[in-house]
């Protein structure tokens, strides 16, 4: 009880309900349909959509935005589809992840994806082997957007700064071998 009340932050609930889809949060009556139909919860009980919604309703920023658990959502939208109250559960989890990202808390693989986007305008850019395979398969050369154009946009929205602001997440710091990511980036820039 003490713990529950100490972690509450009423402004935080408002940050979610003020968003376009987040306002549906208020309709939740905790029936747990979302957790019942969640394909991730079946195998990993750390990811419990009903509990995430409950913690958001109660203003527990520490147990949602600051927890790595929200990142287990596979974004299949089954919960949103099945909710009898019309709560947009998966969209609310996306808003929570946005708040988490603003604090520099997001998984390392997304930082890598985002760096590829900033470097090449694509998460999976073509390489020499693929270009040669495409030629052998008789496929056309595709002219994608210049990466500078993408960088102009990401710089305007502040996305480049967000990507660079990453802090280690719980349980992540030890796993990341030092120097690995920067090396990759240098190679990509050459």
């Amino acid at each position: 009880m003490v713990e529950a009340s100490s972690g509450m932050d009423n402004r935080f609930r408002g940050e979610i309900t003020e968003t376009h889809e987040g306002e549906t949060l208020n309709y939740c009556y905790q029936c747990s349909t979302c957790s019942g139909c969640c394909p991730v919860f079946r195998y990993n009980s750390k990811f419990n959509p009903r509990r995430i919604v409950e913690n958001t309703l109660l203003g527990r920023r520490d147990r949602t935005v600051k927890s790595p658990d929200i990142w287990f959502c596979t974004v299949c939208h089954t919960c949103t589809e099945k909710c009898p109250q019309g709560v947009k559960v998966s969209e609310i989890i996306i808003e929570l992840k946005n708040l988490s990202s603003k604090e520099g808390l997001f998984p390392v693989h997304l930082q890598e994806e985002a760096k590829a986007l900033l470097d090449f305008g694509m998460v999976s850019p073509a390489n020499k082997a693929i270009l040669s395979r495409r030629e052998k398969l008789g496929l056309p050369i595709i002219e994608n957007a210049p990466p500078e154009e993408i960088r102009t946009l990401t710089s305007y929205t502040g996305f480049d700064k967000l990507v660079a602001s990453k802090k280690p997440m719980e349980g992540e710091a030890q796993k990341k071998p030092e120097g690995e990511a920067p090396k990759k980036k240098e190679a990509a820039e050459e």
Binding site: V40, P68, P107, M122, L139, P140, F159
Partner: protein, 295 residues
């Protein structure tokens, strides 16, 4: 209705699985669907990762792609359910969420682009079922795949969120079955048909993604299907390469070929298996190809 589309390839098909692009171009041509390769598209971008990092940037970049298609006045055809969700959601939000279009256009003005809201986004499944239709597909079949049992996997983003994507009945869809039947093959039902492929959780929890793949394949095998048919490259990677990974992780011996729908249709149209380059997939479909050969 015009059958001209801007072909939005995304990055997974052209840069990781280009053989899927081969079969797609073959079947679209045979069905008189004209696709144009426009210069200037970029990442969709990934609806799972980028919406999570910053929904606004995600929508700006997705809308930029729509603006490219608008300049040519072409509706967009996507071959990947991920691209479909990003582009379709952006189109939906900019048309329906007050003030969002203006906010997005402020950003796009920095690169001399503008989103107007004049084009539609269509998934390959929609184009095949709604625009072309099973009858026309059937008319191009030279070698009906009689007796071939197909387990269908719709995947998530082509059906959900239904309010946004508006494809078929999300609880009881039948469009995929219709276009599989048009090839002469028989769709077979199985438990967990609507289970997510799990690609969205792969990078954070490999054990969960593997268990999701295993559960799906267990029921596909029980159904007696000759193959699993998908309509999204990510689902294909999950069940093809993923099948190899779960066999290693769990000591199972799954060997279920995974087809992107255009591969199935191309075979029914008499296109040779060599031309479809199954060699670029992990699970070799030799047994089912032999069955088809004998038809």
């Amino acid at each position: 209705m015009s059958n001209d589309y801007a072909l939005f390839l995304g990055c997974t098909i052209p840069n990781r699985l280009p053989h899927l692009e081969v079969s797609t171009r073959i079947v679209l041509k045979s069905l008189d669907v004209n696709v144009k390769d426009l210069p200037g598209f970029a990442c969709c971008p990934d609806p799972v990762g980028f919406s999570a990092l910053d929904r606004y940037t995600w929508l700006v970049l997705a809308s930029r792609n729509l603006a490219v298609a608008e300049e040519k006045g072409l509706d967009v055809l996507t071959l990947c359910s991920g691209c479909f969700e990003s582009l379709k959601t952006a189109n939906y939000i900019l048309k329906n969420e007050n003030g969002f279009k203006e906010k997005i256009n402020e950003a796009l003005a920095k690169v001399g682009k503008e989103y107007k809201g004049t084009v539609e986004v269509r998934h390959l499944l929609q184009v095949l079922y709604e625009d072309v239709g099973p009858k026309k597909i059937e008319s191009t079949v030279k070698k009906p795949l009689e007796g071939i049992k197909v387990a269908i996997h719709y995947g998530c983003h082509v059906l959900r969120p239904s309010e946004v994507v508006q494809v078929d009945d999300p609880d009881n869809p039948t469009c995929f079955e219709s276009i599989v039947k048009a090839t002469g093959a028989t769709p077979v039902d199985y438990e967990k048909k609507f289970l997510c492929c799990g690609v969205g959780v792969r990078s954070v929890d490999e054990n969960t993604t593997n268990k999701m793949i295993e559960e799906k394949l267990r029921y596909v095998r029980l159904s007696g299907a000759d193959l699993l048919c998908v309509i999204c490259p990510f689902c294909l990677i999950q069940y093809d390469i993923g099948q190899f990974q779960i066999n290693k992780a769990f000591g199972t011996d799954y060997n279920i070929p995974v087809f992107y729908y255009p591969h199935l249709l191309a075979l029914a149209q008499g296109i040779s298996a060599e031309e479809l380059n199954f060699k670029f997939q992990r699970i070799k479909p030799d047994a089912v190809l032999e069955k088809i050969e004998k038809l």
